[in-house]
Symmetry: C2
Subunit: 209 residues, 2 copies
Amino acid sequence: MKHIAESTVRRLSLYLRFLEEFESHGHITISSGELASSGGTTSAQVRKDLSFFGSFGKRGLGYSARDLIAAIREILGLQHPWNVVIIGAGKIGAALAQYRGFSGRGFKVVGLYDNDPSRVGTKLEGVTVRADAEIEKDIARLKPQIAILCVPAEAAQPLVDRVTKAGIKAVLNFAPTPLTVPAGVTLRAVNMATELEILAFSITNDVAV
Amino acid sequence: MKHIAESTVRRLSLYLRFLEEFESHGHITISSGELASSGGTTSAQVRKDLSFFGSFGKRGLGYSARDLIAAIREILGLQHPWNVVIIGAGKIGAALAQYRGFSGRGFKVVGLYDNDPSRVGTKLEGVTVRADAEIEKDIARLKPQIAILCVPAEAAQPLVDRVTKAGIKAVLNFAPTPLTVPAGVTLRAVNMATELEILAFSITNDVAV
C-alpha cells in the first residue's frame, strides 16, 4: 500500500463539508483562500492538497464549487453509499447507531450486534440489535466493508479477527486496546481518554498540539 | 505557544497505557523495543519521543517501568485529576458522561448540561443533567479546565464562547462544525463522519492512512 498523510485526507473531508455548505448558499466559485480559511490552513496548502489528486480550478478564477465537490467526493470514494456494521450495542455503539451525521454522508448502518441477550432484539432508530452469532452471515449477505468496534478491550481482538475474516476491509476501533489486522485491512482507533490526555498535555505544557 | 506534534503526544499516551499494563503483570524493566511494539513504532522513535522531554533509562539496561510511568504521567500532566464538563446530554454526550475509561485515567466529569427541559434533572451514572444556564456558575465553582462539546452544529460556537469566557482552557468538539477559540485555548475536534471518510478513502484508493 502507498501511504497518504491522514492530515491530507482529513482536510479534504473538511473542504468538502465547507464546499457543500457554500454551494447550498448559492455560491458558484470559490478561491483557495476561502477554502483555506475553512480548514484552518493556507492557500498554498489547499493547492498542494488538491494537486496531489489532479488538476483543479483555473489560475485567478478559483474553483467551481460543484466540480470540486464532485472531485473530492470521488477522491474520498463517496460517489456510492457505504454499508457499515457496528459491533457492540453498549452506550457508545448505541449512540453511533443513532448518529444522524452518518447517513447524511452516505454511511448506512446495516447491522448492530451484541452478545448480551437483554440487548438483542431492541430497536434503535430503525436498526435492531442482533446476536453476535449472526455477524458472519450478515456480512456475507449485506457486504458491508466497514466495521465500527465498540466492545470491551478483552473482546476486541477476537471480534476483529472474525469480521476481517468475513470480508470487512476497514475497522474503526473504539475499544481501548491496540489491535492487529491482516495485511490489506485499514485500522483506525478513536480513544476518548487519549483525546483528553492530549488536551491535558496542552494545558500543562502551554503548547499547541 | 510552542508546537509539539500531536502524534508524539498520542504515542506517549499509548506507551503509558502499555507500561501500566506491563507493570501490573509484575515486570520491572522494559526495553525501547518492547515499548515500540506497543505503539506500532520503532525503538529509535521511542528514544526520540522520550528524549524530547529529558533523559530516561540506561543504555543496555532499558527503562524502569515505574520511573517511566511517573515521568510520562508528569509530561502529560496526569499527576493530578482533571475536572471535565460535558455540554449537551444527547446520545453522544450521555455516552461520554457514562464512559468508564475517563475516571480510570483521572478525568472526572463534574457537570453535564442541556437546554432541553425534558433532560434536565435526569441522572446518568451519578451525574445529574443540569440546565445550561448553570454553566458559568458551575465553572466558577468547580474550576474544570476541559469542556467536551456534544451539541448540534448551530449551537456550538455560542457555547464555546461562553465556556472559554468562563475559564475553560481546552475544548474537545464533537459538533460537526469548525469552531474558533480565543488565543491560549486548545481546541480539538472529533468528527465521526470524517473518521469513516478516511476509511472510505483508504479502501477506495487502496492506501494506508
